[in-house]
Every structure is written in C-alpha cells, then in structure tokens.
C-alpha cells in the first residue's frame, strides 16, 4: 500500500517478467502442437512456424494396427484411476489412525513410514521382479507382466505417499468435533465415515488427482513390468515412438501427447481451485 508512488515502473517490470515466464511455459506446448500437425514426422523441423497443417499423425494413431494407442490410453486410465482411488482410501484410513487414534508405537510407525517412503521402489526392481514372478506362477493374472500386478506394486507405495499428507490435513480438523461425536456414542468407524470423510473432500480431490497424474507419468516400473506392446501404458507406448522400437517418430509422439494431455490438463485446470488451495494449505502448515 505504501508503494503507490513506485507503482508504474514496478508494474511494468512485473508484466515483463510474467510475460517472459508465460512464453517460457508455453514454448514446449506450442512446439508439441506444431509437431503434431507437421507432415514430416520430425519435431517442428527446426522452424517455428507451420508450413502446412496435416492430421496424418493423428489418424495414424487410430488406424495403424501396430500401434494400439487406444489400448494404451485405456491401460493408463484404468491403472491410474484404481491406484488413485484405492491408494487414497488406504492412505486416508491410515492417516485417520495416525491422526486420531492412540496406539503403541505411533510416532515410530510414522517415522518408519517416512523412511521406507524415501526408498525408491523401482530400485528394488530385481526383488519386485522375483516376487511377482512367483506370484505369476500361481496366479498368472496378477503376476509379472500384468496391469493388476503393477497396480499391486504401486499400491504398496500408496500408504507412505498419502498417509503423511492426509494426516497433516486431518490434524487441522478440530478435536472437539470427534469428542462431541464420541459423547453422542459414535464409534471410531462412524466418526470416520460420517464426519471426517465429508470434511476432507477438498484434500481427497487434490490427493486423488495428484496420485492419478503421478501414476499416469510413471515410467520405469511400467516399462520393465509390461513387456507386451498391448499391455503398455501411454507413457511407455509414447516413449517407444521416440526411443528405439519405432525409430524417432516425433509426429506420432506429439499427436499422442496432445490427445493424452488434453483430458489431464482440462481436469487439472477445472479443479484448479482445489489444487491451489491444497498446495497452499500444505505450505503454511510447516
């Protein structure tokens, strides 16, 4: 308020910086859009303007029998949705126990959880491989090479990833609320389902969305776990366009990226209010 006199130059400086950052943010997005309508299959062919606009990269994704693109999208969506919903629910259960219930070793369990969480689980890949191979031997549908097996591995990390975050939010809900409910004779599970679940809606939305995006982006485990072309996720499938399998086919990659990104970005922007609130709330709790 006291800077009114300086406002004009400062405001110009702000706009320049902001516009510079916006151009920086949009440049790759523009490039990928440009490449997706480029007929040569290269990444924007070293030019910043489109010469001709063609849609063959898009049609190729849906017509080429060797590219089961829709299958990849489906695999990713199924995997990411299930991991997000089940993972957040499991994390929510755990965080409720950590936030509200008294039990022996609570602090140490929380410490241990944080510690296990920082072990990147794909470095245990060889171990995971051995375990899932044995499971495959008995139950072929949930072992190595299957979406369900990969889901189980993802879910193994969900408690560590979500419990801490959600606990932070649950801690901010006043104790008086559940104490009053307890006096009314409510059990722990009633308090959880009837009081906490509705109150945590914003943070549930944020964590579910972030878990969904995180799973959608996961590359390492999926690329080693899912060998068959049909079983791949979008991330692994699209990488193969610019990796070795198909040669560097940037056009198809760009088109696939645009198709895969549109629903995610739409979802993200439409839930922006929740995300900004959730992320900002997380920042002031430390």
């Amino acid at each position: 308020m006291s800077h009114v006199s300086k406002r004009t130059p400062s405001s110009a400086w702000r706009h320049i910086f902001i516009i510079f950052m916006i151009l920086f943010a949009l440049f790759p997005i523009y490039t990928v859009l440009l490449s997706s309508v480029n007929g040569t299959g290269a990444l924007a062919t070293g030019s910043l303007w489109p010469h001709t606009i063609v849609f063959k990269n898009y049609t190729k994704l849906f017509n080429d029998a060797s590219i089961p693109f829709l299958r990849w999208v489906l695999n990713s969506v199924v995997l990411a949705s299930l991991n997000a919903v089940i993972g957040v629910l499991v994390g929510l259960f755990a965080s409720y126990a950590f936030s509200r219930l008294k039990f022996k070793g609570r602090k140490n369990s929380l410490r241990l959880l944080l510690l296990i969480q920082v072990f990147p689980n794909f470095l245990a890949l060889a171990a995971i491989y051995v375990i899932m191979e044995r499971i495959y031997h008995v139950f072929p549908s949930i072992g190595i090479g299957t979406t369900w097996g990969l889901l189980l591995v993802y879910l193994g990390g969900s408690m560590g990833a979500n419990a801490w975050l959600l606990k932070g939010f649950l801690d901010s809900i006043p104790m008086e609320l559940d104490e009053a409910a307890k006096i009314d004779g409510a059990s722990a599970s009633q308090i959880f389902w009837l009081i906490f679940l509705p109150l945590t809606k914003p943070i549930i939305v944020v964590t579910t969305l972030l878990t969904f995006i995180g799973t959608f982006n996961e590359f390492v485990l999926a690329s080693i776990f899912l060998q068959e072309v049909k079983a791949r996720t979008v991330a692994v499938g699209l990488e193969s366009f610019v990796g070795s399998d198909f040669g560097a086919n940037w056009g198809a990659f760009a088109a696939g990226s645009v198709i895969a990104a549109i629903p995610l970005v739409t979802l993200f922007l439409s839930l922006q209010r929740y995300i900004v609130g959730g992320v900002a709330a997380g920042s002031v709790k430390g």
Partner: protein
C-alpha cells in the same frame, strides 16, 4: 445415515466383506498349496487370520484402519527393500544369478556334458515295456542297437530285436511303441531321456526321433565340494567368488557361476575399486549439486513470480492459469518434448536462437539443460507454495517495518524472505529429496549422458546416483544387481538421513497430540 453405519446393516456389510475376503484368500491359498508355493499360501493364510482377528475383535481400533495399508506396504515395499539389502551382500550379476545347487545342476547337465568326438547319433523309438518308459536306439553308423530303460542303456544282440524297412530297431519282445497321441505328450520324458553306457558316457535324446552320445567331462563330488574332469584329470575348486576354478590355474572358470555371499565387498568396492570409485564420486557430487541448485533456482523463480503476481495486477487469474500449465502437463511427456526441442539438428530451441548448439552432448551444456528443463517442470509448484506462504505473512508486517524506517529491499531481504524460507523449509527439503532421486528427468532427457563410452565410462555427465544404480543393474552387459543394490542402499541411507533430520527440525512429531 447413522443407522446405516452403526446398526445391523453396518454390521452386515462388515461381515459380508470379511466373509468374501476370507473365502477368496483361502481359495487362493488352496491354489498356491496345489502348486507347492508354501510362502504364498502362508502369506495369504496369515492375511486371512489377521483380518479376522482384527475385524472381529472390538479392541484394536487402530488396527482396523491400518491393516489394508500395512499389508500392501509390507508385501510390496518392505519385503523388496529387505531383499535388496540382502542382495547387496552377494556377488549377484549376469552369470552369477542362480544358487550354487542350481549352478552345479547346470554344470552337470550342460557345461560338463560334451558330445563325443565322432558325433555319434542314434535313431530313437519311444515306447513302453510293461509300464516302464523305454527307448530303442540304433547307432546310425555301426547299426548297433541299445535298449534304454530307467537311465541305463543295454547292448542288444542281433536277432533279439526287429528292424523296420529303414534298418531301425522298432520292436523287442514286450515293447509297445508310442502312438501319435502319446508322442504328443512325451516332451518331458524326451527331455529327461539320459541313458548311461558306463564310463561316463550317456545317450541323450535330441528330439523325438534322435539321440546323441555325450561324455560327462565334469563330475561333482559333494564330499570335497569339487568338480573333477575324468578325461584331463583336472580338479576344479570353489574359488570363493561364485565360480568353480581350476585348482592349478585359478583364472580358468567353469560357467555358470552362482550368487556368492560376500558381506560388504560390494560396498567396499565402491570406494576401493578405482573403476567404480571415480565415477561414483563424480556422480555423487553432481547429484548433490543438482538437487541443491535446482531447488534454489525453482524456488527463486517461483518466489519472484509470486511477488510479481501478488497484488492487484490485471489478468491475474488468466496469467495464473497459463503459468501452471507446465504443472498440469504429464511430466514424462514434457521431458521427452524438451529432449526433442534441445536436439542439435531439428530442435526448436536452436531454431529460436538461430544457433547450432549440441545441448545434450556436452557435459556442461547438458547439465544446464537438465536444470533448465527442471525449472520449467517445477516453477509452477514453487510459485503456488510461495503464494501461499506470502499470504500467510501477517498483513501489517510491511507497514510496521516501513514505519521503523526500513527500505523496500530491506523489508524483503531481512524480513519477508527469512519468514518465507522458514514457512517453506519442509517443502524445500522434500523437494531436495525428490530431486536427489529425480530419475524420470535424467533418464528421459539425457539417459544420464553424455557418456564417453569409448573411454570406458559407465557414468555420464548428468547421471544421478539413482540413474547410475539403475544402469549398473539393468543397462550394462554386466547387470550387476549386487553392486546396484549396494548403491541403492547408500542412496537410501543418504536420503533417509536427510528426511529424518528435516523431520526432527520441523518438530512435526514432537508437536503431535
């Protein structure tokens, strides 16, 4: 609503879920038992017992909420971590994957079994005598006939067998040849057909119609734990490094090897073996530098942006929507796009600059590129949390400081920045830990490169510890799981220590109710 969860219906739902889980898992345990997978069956039964105990018992309330997460965590997180740590104590790499028993078995049935010098081949007819699996073998050169039963081949005298039109023995008294249906199911029997001729010679089936003569050149003696070659007379002893080696010439190894316990040698080799130590130290330093620098840069840009967008500025919401787009884009995609954009020949960055720079193939440029791309990916998040932190500052702070005579820049550097840093320190530390292990960024953008393969380098200029470990385990010819596990454990200890330290600093647990 209350009735639904508290009353009989709630109980019914609970019992129903518990019953179906019990039924399903018991059935799965039964299937596992049928295949003699004791561990899997045991785990499933343990889950059923734990679930029933915890959910039927009113007392362990916390257990009811923790059980599903704990089971998943133990099976797919804790067990792999423990197994990885265990593996780091072994020589465990390509050529040393199997156990010693399996290795001996393979040596006996593969390596130590050589075809004889004349490549003697037999025509083979499968069948049974009584109920006993039997093969009739006719030497293609000498036409001598053998009957193979129960692992022993016996010479047959002429006249005791019947020859078919091709001169192959196809019947002896009591012998019943396999029909087509039996032949179709005889794969395992054919694989197992190994009939001894004495003198370490064996007739071994090659396919359904032929067999060959093999000589056992390596024989395992369990008492002395040695291999013996009856032809050359050489003796091979357990060299202690996962191989049988010639007693008189220790460089001569018998393949395959096995995984050999070595305690800490994988760890010590990181620090003593110059070929491992030099890249490790370089990667170690770069990992710290990268994680530190990238957090500072992202935070710097995020904070300045938050300040720039702080107050009444036109189009604020519109700007914000555009600025958080990088956060909304799937990151694996963005990284790959950047990899293409930074390409020397067709990348749009060079097109924009009008230069011909090979961004990803020179060490320092590649490191700069990694920081630049991570800035793109991360600044929106830091912008958001910085905005949150700035809004959490007391509103009259600035005015109070101004009244005390502080200038604008003093207010920022001396008052606002320290407060914002304090508020955001948990996020900054978490981001440091995340970027310390930022596998996707490095692997998809540079593959850890540039790597001077000609100079025999295994680590590239932008490799982080985690990509280095991954390459060690999965991308080199060596596939050194033991060493990779050791590096993983080292990474784990470093990041774990940082996390514990920051946890203590932030006093989250001490403040816990």
């Amino acid at each position: 609503m209350h009735k639904l969860f508290g009353g009989k219906i709630g109980l019914a739902i609970k019992v129903l879920i518990l019953l179906s889980v019990t039924g399903l898992f018991s059935f799965m345990a039964y299937l596992a038992l049928l295949k003699s997978e004791w561990i899997i069956a045991g785990v499933l039964i343990a889950i059923v017992l734990a679930a029933n105990y915890i959910y039927l018992n009113p007392r362990p309330v916390a257990g009811k909420f923790l059980l599903p997460g704990v089971i998943l965590l133990i099976l797919f997180m804790v067990v792999p971590v423990i197994y990885t740590t265990y593996m780091s104590g072994f020589i465990y790499k390509a050529g040393n994957i199997i156990t010693k028993e399996e290795a001996i078995h393979q040596i006996m049935t593969n390596t130590g079994l050589q075809p004889d010098a004349n490549n003697t081949t037999y025509d083979m007819v499968l069948g049974t005598v009584g109920s006993q699996y039997t093969v009739l073998l006719t030497d293609q050169t000498t036409h001598q006939v053998y009957e193979g039963i129960n692992g022993v081949a016996t010479k047959m005298s002429p006249g005791s067998y019947h020859l078919n039109a091709d001169g192959i023995a196809d019947s002896v008294p009591g012998f019943k040849a396999y029909n087509d249906a039996q032949l179709a199911n005889a794969d395992q029997q054919i694989t197992d057909t190994k009939e001894s001729l004495g003198d370490n010679k064996y007739i071994i089936a090659q396919d359904a119609n032929t067999a060959g003569l093999f000589i056992q050149t390596l024989i395992y003696d369990a008492k002395t734990n040695t291999l013996h070659n009856p032809i050359t007379g050489a003796t091979y002893i357990d060299g202690g490094k996962g191989y049988f080696v010639n007693r008189d010439n220790r460089t001569e190894q018998i393949l395959p090897g096995w995984r050999q316990p070595t305690w800490f040698s994988n760890y010590t080799s990181i620090f003593t073996n110059a070929k491992l130590r030099n890249p490790f130290i370089r990667v170690f330093i770069w990992t710290f530098a990268f994680a530190f620098l990238t957090v500072i840069i992202m935070f710097g840009f995020g904070l300045v942006l938050a300040i720039a967008l702080d107050k009444k500025i036109k189009f604020r919401n519109f700007y914000r929507a555009l600025l958080i787009l990088p956060y909304a884009m799937p990151s694996f995609m963005s990284i790959l796009i950047w990899a293409g954009m930074l390409n020397r020949d067709y990348g749009s960055v060079n097109a924009l600059l009008g230069h011909h720079i090979d961004w990803l193939n020179q060490v320092w440029l590649a490191r700069g590129a990694v920081l630049l791309v991570n800035l793109w990916l991360g600044f929106p998040y830091f912008y958001l949390i910085s905005t949150g932190a700035l809004q959490a500052l007391p509103g009259d702070l600035e005015e109070a400081a101004a009244i005390d005579g502080a200038s604008g820049s003093q207010i920022f550097w001396r008052i606002k920045l320290p407060l914002v840093l304090q508020i955001l320190s948990p996020m900054l530390i978490a981001s440091f830990a995340f970027n310390f292990n930022n596998f996707n960024l490095i692997y998809l953008l540079t593959h850890g490169g540039p790597t001077n393969v000609l100079a025999g380098e295994t680590a590239g200029g932008t490799d982080l510890l985690i990509t280095y470990a991954y390459k060690t385990a999965f991308a080199t010819n060596d596939q050194n799981y033991g060493l990779a596990s050791a590096i993983s454990v080292v990474v784990f200890i470093i990041v774990g220590a940082i996390s514990m330290w920051s946890l203590r600093r932030s006093k989250v647990l001490e403040d816990m109710r």
